[in-house]
């Protein structure tokens, strides 16, 4: 177990190192922040001087050395736009994205499990077939299109729901949460539904097919033969065994979900990391871009590690040290 953890940690460091190199490459190439920071009538001379002050004129390896040295100490640079440490900005924006991912995961979990199980148990019922039909439609509609359609319908046509921002926030320490006010919930409703719109059908289908596979297996047949109740066979014996692949896929899909937050947050002007990322791209705010990349990298590595650990716990036939 400890050996596994150490190996994982080592891998994580390598991954983060690679990300830092990529991040640095981006930093070099996203454009000149000086232009964004200075007014238009500032002379070229002034700009050169300013660039010098920011250290943008040094050779790239000097800049990388400086960047890496600071990064190990947790300093990812100062955001040009926010004029604050990039990590601080990330931590301030993270709650918005995490809440969005959390609520949409909740939606996925609440709907995919009962729907998936039902359609596996009664695959021929009308409802199951309709569900399968609509789920493939769901997978085929891009997230941003769903989001736009929802804004058009619920904000513009019906004006039921707000179309932008997070609404009223309550500060809990450094965490600005929208989940404690009604206004906050009204604001998070559409973005989280949009974000879950592509994952939900995927999970329903996944749970269904896994469950059907398990139901075909020998030991379930044996359980039937023993005369166990339906409920017991379905939920205790069969469902438990479908959990394993669902957890693995869930871990992998978290990355996809985070990528999709970029799309969702762009449409809804949701003040989270994805929105911040696209703005940073537009503003050439390299330190912030790199910090975002590192943050996402660390979250991914962390989640994958946890998934592997759970995997080991749920499925004792796999020795953790031998995973993959």
């Amino acid at each position: 177990m400890i050996a596994f953890m150490i190996r994982r940690l080592f891998q994580a460091l390598i991954v983060i190192f690679i990300i830092s190199v990529i991040g640095f490459a981006i930093k070099q190439s996203v454009g000149d922040p000086v232009r964004e920071l200075t007014g238009i009538s500032v002379s070229e001379e002034e700009r050169v001087e300013f660039r010098e002050k920011l250290g943008l004129n040094d050779p790239w390896y000097v800049q990388y050395g400086r960047f890496f040295g600071d990064a190990i100490q947790g300093d990812l640079g100062t955001s040009f736009f926010y004029k604050r440490p990039a990590t601080e900005v990330i931590l301030e924006k993270a709650p918005a994205t995490l809440e969005l991912v959390f609520v949409s995961s909740l939606i996925i979990l609440l709907f995919s499990v009962p729907l998936g199980v039902f359609s596996a148990i009664k695959p021929d019922s009308l409802f199951s077939r309709a569900l399968m039909g609509s789920s493939i439609v769901g997978v085929s509609i891009p997230v941003f299109l769903t989001a736009i359609m929802m804004v058009y319908l619920f904000s513009i046509k019906l004006s039921w729901l707000p179309s932008y921002g997070r609404g009223e926030l309550v500060m809990l320490g450094g965490w600005g949460t929208g989940l404690l006010t009604l206004d906050g919930w009204l604001h998070i409703l559409m973005p989280s539904v949009a974000l879950s719109s592509i994952m939900l059908p995927l999970f329903i289908r996944l749970i269904r097919s896994e469950m059907m596979e398990v139901l075909e297996s020998e030991y379930i047949k044996y359980a039937w033969a023993k005369g166990l109740t339906h409920r017991r066979v379905w939920f205790v014996h069969a469902f438990k065994n479908t959990l394993l692949p669902v957890i693995t896929v869930g871990g992998v899909q978290l990355g996809v979900t985070i990528a999709f937050t970029i799309l969702t947050e762009t449409v809804f002007q949701w003040q989270g990391l994805g929105f911040m990322f696209m703005e940073a791209v537009e503003r050439s705010d390299a330190p912030l871009l790199v910090a975002y990349l590192m943050f996402v990298g660390i979250v991914m590595v962390g989640v994958n590690t946890i998934v592997d650990l759970i995997y080991g716990l749920v499925n004792p036939t796999i020795r953790i040290a031998g995973v993959k």
């Binding site: 996203v30 000149d32 922040p33 964004e36 002034e46 040009f80 926010y82 004029k83 604050r84 932008y164």
Partner: protein, 545 residues
């Protein structure tokens, strides 16, 4: 509206809780009733007191609390709210006194300003001549403002409330430049902060005292700020201007970058006032019963520059004229800008000294093809073009439209658009043969256009800094220089108009249009009286009925 309805539901639910709590003890009912009445009364009163809150949505929020950090429309807008200038532009583009009660020109280089007495900063300090001197000196230190204040010496103190502002050379635009002087509280911004850094420091990329703290003489102070999310302005009790009719006690500014979302927020009642308004939504706003639209012709000219150093053909005036004739800028103004722009044929909008009324737009496809033939480019050629996609109103669409218009005379355009943060770099490098630039004259004067856009590029003097077309005409240059020191208005006007005429005849650039300025808000707001061509609505004077 569902949200309203749900909120209503929740409040009635809490009401039930009150009643149920009351029923538990019979004796308490009377008291509860009394309590609830008081509560209602208090709510109603506080409701009234808070009724004058303005919820404002703009495309961006101030990037800093330090007015000298960046020279941009957003920062000047902010400066007008929390600082006050010596003088400011009126709606009729005349100049009115603010912190300066009156002023008089002593000689060609000096103007004496008499400050209002008893003006208090937010910190409680009184405004004196020292603050003005301190502010001008700081402006000369600011990367962004030092260009404008290049000509200025350090001002001279006459007495506590009188100050002489002096320039190095005769300078006709001294008073208009004073609109950029927003006196800062020199005592407040002097000394060391708790990090041991100079409070006066200007820092564009990191912490500085002035980036996070402020003390001005303006109507508002900033009571809460979350960058990129919201800024709350609260009225300052000791504000000097008691005559202003403005009655907005609190302004909540939310930046909403996306045009469509900003309009939706206004129409759904989430905000009271938006700026700017995208042209495609103006009709809808005008038709609405609850909101109104206010527009004004703007003074920012949108142009294309044809790079003569990169493309041999653009050296030929006939080809440049052909391009101007091929571009249907009237069509762009009508369709893409929905008629919310004034078609241009020169730099100076109407009202500017240099505006030459004889110059008219010239879209004529046949003539354009004819000119291409005459120039020997009947078969056309291929060029590249770059334009920003988030800087000017509909900039990307305009670029795309002009690209296909040029296609009609055989000039094949490879277009690339990009965000402004990447654009200006590419613009300076002159990566493409045709580049878009919009220009607003900081001095509200024609000369400024030529100094930056059309004079021969010269690294030493800095003239022609944004002349990526590399148009160069000695006559224009010498006129532009002469104009700077010419204090005779009639002579000056004639020279400026001549400059416009030369540029027009030689097709020095492709003029497109002046985009309209636009604001929209609820019907009960007195928007008309606070707006001006500089696009800084004076929110301090806003009347909310």
């Amino acid at each position: 509206m569902l949200s309203r309805w749900l909120q209503g539901l929740v409040s009635s639910a809490t009401g039930f809780a009150h009643i149920r709590a009351g029923l538990k003890s019979q004796e308490a009912i009377g008291m509860k009733k009394h309590f609830m009445l008081t509560l209602l009364l208090v709510l109603a009163l506080t409701g009234l007191a808070h009724a004058k809150t303005l919820k404002l949505a703009m495309d961006a929020d101030p990037v800093s609390l330090d007015p000298h950090m960046q020279l941009s429309g957003g920062m000047l807008q902010y400066s007008h709210m929390v600082f006050d200038p010596l003088v400011r532009w009126t709606k009729e583009t005349t100049i009115e006194g603010r912190l300066a009660e009156k002023w008089e020109r002593l000689d060609e280089k000096t103007v004496r300003f008499h400050l209002k007495k008893g003006v208090k900063f937010h910190s409680g300090n009184e405004l004196t001549a020292d603050d003005v001197i301190w502010t001008v000196n700081r402006l000369k230190e600011s990367v962004d403002f030092k260009g404008i204040f290049e000509q200025f010496n350090s001002p001279l103190k006459v007495d506590k409330y009188t100050v002489d502002i002096v320039t190095k050379v005769p300078y006709p635009l001294l008073v208009s430049t004073a609109t950029y002087i927003f006196p800062m509280d020199s005592k407040f911004y002097s000394g060391k902060d708790d990090k041991g850094m100079d409070k006066a420091a200007i820092n564009k990329t990191g912490y500085s005292f002035a980036n996070d703290n402020l003390s001005g003489t303006g109507k508002y102070t900033v009571s809460e700020r979350q960058q990129g999310v919201k800024v709350v302005f609260e009225a300052f009790a000791g504000y000097w201007d008691k005559e202003s009719p403005g009655n907005a006690d609190k302004i909540v500014l939310t930046p909403i970058k996306n045009d469509a979302t900003r309009v939706a927020a206004l129409l759904s009642g989430d905000v009271d006032f938006i700026m700017p308004v995208p042209p495609q939504d103006m009709d809808r706003i005008e038709k609405s019963d609850s909101v109104k639209l206010v527009t004004m012709s703007g003074t920012r000219i949108i142009t294309l520059q044809l790079n003569q150093n990169r493309v041999e053909a653009f050296k030929n005036p006939k080809v440049r004229q052909a391009v101007v004739y091929a571009v249907n800028n009237a069509g762009i103004a009508e369709k893409l800008m929905k008629g919310r722009a004034t078609v241009g044929a020169q730099n100076s909008p109407k009202g500017y000294a240099g505006h030459n009324p004889d110059l008219t737009p010239r879209y004529d496809l046949k003539k354009a093809k004819q000119l291409m033939k005459e120039a020997g480019y009947e078969k056309g050629f291929e060029v590249s073009m770059v334009a920003p996609n988030n800087r000017y109103v509909n900039d990307e669409k305009i670029a795309e439209a002009t690209a296909s218009m040029l296609g009609k005379i055989g000039i094949k355009v490879n277009l690339k658009t990009m965000p402004k943060a990447q654009y200006w770099d590419q613009f300076d490098l002159q990566v493409a043969d045709i580049q878009m630039i919009g220009w607003h004259s900081d001095t509200e004067d024609t000369g400024n256009f030529f100094e930056f856009l059309l004079m021969c590029p010269n690294k030493e003097t800095g003239y022609g800094q944004y002349n990526s077309g590399n148009y160069c005409n000695q006559e224009v240059d010498s006129l532009a220089l002469k104009v700077q020191a010419e204090t005779d208005e009639v002579k000056r006007t004639a020279m400026l108009q001549k400059m416009e005429k030369i540029a027009y005849d030689e097709a020095a650039f492709v003029p497109l249009h002046w985009q309209d300025l636009s604001w929209a808000g609820k019907k009960n707001l007195g928007i008309e009286s606070i707006v001006n061509v500089m696009n800084f609505p004076y929110f301090g004077d806003l009347v909310i009925q």
